[in-house]
C-alpha cells in the first residue's frame, strides 16, 4: 500500500512541476516571446559556464578526496613500467581534456545568440583538418610505441630462474599448487578430480606429482625480488587472477593454460609499513564474472624473504602424503565432497583445512 502511495505522490509532484513549467511558458508568451527567449538564452549561457567552473572545482575536490585512497606504488618491478606509462597517458589525455572542454564551454558562452550577432559562414578548411588529423595521429603513435614496448616486455617469456606456481580457479576460490623439491608440476587430468582427496585431478602415476604441495589455506607464497611465473587454469568457468598491487591480471580459462610472470618488490611486511596499515594484505581478486560467489572469490598473496619462504615450505606436507595416508580413506570423502556451487567459501581438498574466511 505504501508503495502505491509513494508512486501516487511522485506522480502528483510531477504534475505540479509540469503545471508550473507550463504556466511559465504561457507567461512567456504573454510577456513577449522574443524577449523571454533572449533572456533564457543568456541565462543558459551563464548556467553552462557556471557548470564548467563548478566542474573544474569538482574535479580538483574529487582528486583531493580520492588520492589518499589510491593503491601504493607498484609492488612488482613490471608494475613500475605500468605506473610510469599511466602517468604519461594521464598527462597527454589530461591536456586534451582541459583544452577541448574549455574551448567547448568558452565558445558556447562567447558566441551565445544576441540581436547583433550573425554567424560566420565557415564550412570547411582543409589545412585545419590536416592539422587536427596529424597531431592526434602522432600522439597516438607515441602512446602505441610506449604501450607496445611495455606489453612486449610484460608478456615475454619468464626468466629461467623464475619460481613456478600453479593457480587454479573454481567456483568460488583459488587452489594453489607448488612443484615441490623437483621444481616440476606433475600432470593433471580433470577426469581424476575428486573434491575429497584430489582437488586438481593430479595423476598419481606421474612421479612428478609426488612432492607437489597444495597450500592448505590457498595462500600464494612468493619470494621478494625473485621472478615468479604463475601457471593459470580453471576447473569450471572462466575466472581471472587479478593482482591489483602488482598491476597484473590474467584470465583462468577451462581447457587452456595461461601464464603470467612478474617480480615482487616488497614483502607483505614492508607493504604494511608503506601503507601504514597493519592489516594490509595482498589480495587476489577474481576479475571475470564467474557466478553468484564471484564477489567473494578472494585469495591472498604472501610475499616474504627467501628464508621465510623456505621455512614455510618446509612446514608443508605434500598433497600425496595428506590424501593417501590411511586416515583419508575414500570412505569419509563422501561426507565432505561439496558440490561446486553450494557456498562461496568452501574448502579446497582436505577436510582438516580451513580457507580464508570470506
Amino acid at each position: 500500500m505504501s508503495g502505491f502511495i509513494a508512486i501516487a505522490l511522485i506522480l502528483l509532484v510531477f504534475i505540479i512541476i509540469y503545471q508550473i513549467a507550463k504556466a511559465s511558458e504561457l507567461a512567456m508568451i504573454l510577456r513577449g516571446e522574443e524577449k523571454v527567449k533572449a533572456s533564457t538564452n543568456r541565462l543558459m549561457a551563464w548556467l553552462l559556464m557556471a557548470f564548467f567552473l563548478l566542474g573544474l572545482y569538482g574535479i580538483w575536490e574529487c582528486h583531493e578526496l580520492m588520492m589518499p585512497k589510491m593503491l601504493p606504488d607498484s609492488a612488482s618491478v613490471q608494475g613500475v613500467q605500468y605506473d610510469s606509462m599511466y602517468r604519461v597517458t594521464v598527462i597527454v589525455t589530461g591536456i586534451v581534456f582541459f583544452l577541448t572542454q574549455a574551448l567547448l564551454f568558452w565558445f558556447a558562452f562567447r558566441y551565445q545568440s544576441t540581436e547583433k550577432r550573425t554567424s560566420f559562414f565557415f564550412p570547411h578548411n582543409n589545412k585545419l583538418e590536416l592539422i587536427w588529423t596529424t597531431i592526434p595521429a602522432i600522439a597516438m603513435a607515441v602512446l602505441v610505441a610506449i604501450g607496445l614496448r611495455n606489453w612486449v616486455s610484460m608478456t615475454s617469456e619468464a626468466p629461467k630462474d623464475a619460481a613456478i606456481v600453479e593457480i587454479v580457479g573454481k567456483q568460488f576460490n583459488w587452489i594453489v599448487r607448488y612443484p615441490g623439491n623437483d621444481g616440476v608440476l606433475g600432470t593433471r587430468d580433470f577426469r581424476k578430480i575428486d573434491d575429497a582427496n584430489n582437488v586438481l585431478g593430479l595423476d598419481w602415476k606421474d612421479r612428478n606429482n609426488m612432492d607437489d604441495i597444495i597450500s592448505a589455506n590457498g595462500e600464494l607464497h612468493m619470494v621478494v625480488n625473485k621472478p615468479i611465473k604463475l601457471i593459470i587454469g580453471s576447473r569450471d568457468v572462466i575466472h581471472d587472477v587479478g593482482l591489483p598491487h602488482f598491476r597484473m591480471k590474467m584470465d583462468a580459462v577451462p581447457g587452456i593454460i595461461t601464464t603470467l610472470w612478474f617480480t615482487p618488490r616488497y614483502t607483505t611486511a614492508q607493504m604494511k609499513e608503506i601503507t601504514k596499515n597493519p592489516n594490509f594484505v595482498y589480495e587476489i581478486s577474481c576479475d571475470q564474472m564467474c557466478g553468484k560467489g564471484h564477489y567473494a572469490m578472494r585469495g591472498t598473496v604472501v610475499v616474504e624473504t627467501e628464508a621465510e619462504y623456505k621455512a614455510w615450505l618446509a612446514s608443508q606436507q605434500t598433497y600425496y602424503a595428506i590424501n593417501n595416508a590411511p586416515a583419508a580413506a575414500p570412505a569419509d570423502s563422501a561426507s565432505v565432497a561439496p558440490t561446486g556451487s553450494e557456498q562461496p567459501a568452501e574448502q579446497p581438498g582436505n577436510n582438516n583445512q580451513t580457507i580464508v574466511k570470506q
Binding site: P244, G291, G340, S341
Partner: protein
Amino acid sequence: MAGIVASIKVKQMSDVIIDGPNVAHAHAHDEHHGHEHHEQHFIMKYLFSMDHKIIAKQFLITGIIWAIIGALFSVFFRLQLGFPDQTFPIMEKFLGEWAKGGKLSNEFYYALVTMHGTILVFFVLTAGLSGTFANLLIPLQIGARDMASPFMNMLSYWFFFISSIFMFVSLFVQTGPASGGWTTYPPLSALKEASMGSGVGMDLWLISMALFVVSSLLGGLNYISTILNMRTKGMTMTRLPLTIWALLFTAVLGVLSFPVLFSGFVLLIFDRNFGTSFYLSEIFIGGKALPHIGGSPILYQHLFWFLGHPEVYIIMLPGMGMASEVLSTHSRKPIFGYFAMIISLIGITVLAFLVWAHHMFVSGMSPFLGSIFVLMTLLIAVPSAVKVFNWLTTIWRGNIRFTVPMMFALGFVSLFISGGLTGIFLGNSALDIHLHDTYFVIAHFHIVMGVSAFFGMFAGIYHWFPKMFGRYLNNTLGYIHFFITLAGAYLIFWPMHYEGIAGMPRRYYDYSAWESFRHFTSLNGFISIVSIIVFFAQLLFVFNFFMSIFKGRKLLTQNPWDSPTLEWTTPINAGHGNWPGEIPEVHRWPYDYKDDGNGNDFIPQTVPLKPGEEAH
C-alpha cells in the same frame, strides 16, 4: 511496394496548418487526391502501421519503457552497492523472493546487472535509438514517401516486440533471468550447474536475442536500401544531412556484424542443449567431470566481440549524426568540415571491425595478436578526434541558441570527449592489464556509449519531437532534465575512474570483505544517492514526453528551428506519404546557413541556387 504507398491515407489538408513554399503544392494535391482519403482503423493506423513515422514512435515508446525498467534495475543494485549492510523493504515489493526482507540476494544482483546491460545496450540504445531515428529521419530527410519496404519495416518492429516479450518473460521465471553478465561468456552461461540464471532464463535470453538480431537485420537492410535508392530528385549523396550518413553506417555495421553474433548464439544453443563442445573443454562442475573436450571459450569471445565492438559504434554513430545536425542548426552555422565528417565516419566504420579483441587482452589470447589490436584501437581515436574538433569549430563564431536540444548536443560533445579519452587508456594493452574489468571500464563506457549516446538521443528527441507529434516538449522541464542529468552523470562516473585505478573489480555484490577495496564504501553510497536522483530526473523527462504528446504547446509553424533540411517542408502532422503534393526537389547541401536576402539566416535545401551562387 509502390502500391502500398499510393493507397495510404493522406491526412486531410483542412486540419493542417501550412505555411512556406508548400502551400501551392498542398492545395493542388488536396483537390487531386482528396477522393482517396479513407479512415483507417485504429489497429491498422497505430499498431500494425507501415508508416515509418508511426513505426519510429513505436520503437521510441518501447525503448522508453525498456529504459525505465533498465534504469530501475540499476537503482536496485546501486542500493545494494551503496549500502550493503542496510535493508530496503521497498525492494521486496518489486522483487519479492529475490529481495527477502529488503536485502537483494547475490544471485539476483547478478541477474539485475546482466539485464541492465542487455536492456540498455540492445533494447534501448540499439533498437530504441536507431529504430526511432532511422525510421523517422531517413524518409523525411532524403525525400521519400516511406521506406523501401514498409512491410519489412513493420516486421522489424514486431520482431523487436516479440523479442522484448521473451526478455520480459525471462524476468519472471523461477530460476531468474540470465545472470552471467550481458556478454554471457560460456562456460558460465552454457552450464546449468554453474549458475541459476544459466537455466531457463538463459534459454529465453538467447531466443530473445536471436529474434532481436532478426529485427535488427530487417531494419538495417531496409535503411541501407532506402538511403541508396529512394533519395528525391537532386538529393545526391553529398547533399545528405550527416544524420543520414551516420544512420547509413550504423545500418552497415549492424548488417555485417549481427550475423556473426547470431552464429555465436547458435553454437551456444548447441552447447547448452545438444551436447556439442564448441566452447567447452575439460570442465569439472557440480561434483562431476563433463564429457566435453576440445572446445574453446575464447572462440565465443571472438564471435561475441566481433559484434560487441561494432555495437558500440552502432550506439554512438546515430548520436554523432544527430549532434552534428543539432549543433549546426542551433548555432545557425554550417557543420564544419562536412566531408571530413563523412570520411571520419567511414574511418570509424572500417576500423570498428578491426578492434574487437581489445576486449580480450587478458583472455589468454596471443600477445602478438594483442599488439595489432592496440594499434588499430588507438588508430580509431584519430577519426573520433577529428569529429570533436569539427564540432568545436562548428559552434565557434556561431550565433548560438540555447534550446533544449542544443544543450543536450553540447553535453553530448562534452561527455564524448571525457569518455573517449579514457578509451586511450583501455585500448593500450599494457595499461588494460591493470584496468581491465575494474570500475575504470564501467566509468569509461558508461560515459561514452551510455550517457553520451543518451545525450545524442535526447538531443534528437527534443529536436524532432515537434516533427513527431506536432507539439513541443516543455522547455523548463527540458532544462531541468538537462542539468540534473549532466551534473549527475559526471558525479556518478567521474569518481568511478579512481575506484578503477585502485583496482576495484566490477560486478561485485559486496566489497566489505576486501581489505583493498572497502575504503570506498562511503563513495559508493554517494554514487548511489546521485544515481537515484538522476533516475527521478529521467522519470521527469518521461512524464514531460507523455504529457506533451497530448498537452504540449502546439506547433504553429512548419519549421520551428529554421532548419534547411527536408523534413521541415512536410506539413505539421504529415500523413503517410509525408508530402501531400509532389516530393520537393533538392538543389543544395543541407547546411546553407547564410543570408537568403529576405532576412532569414538559412536557405532551405529546396531553394534553387541563385544565379552566380556557388554550390557547396
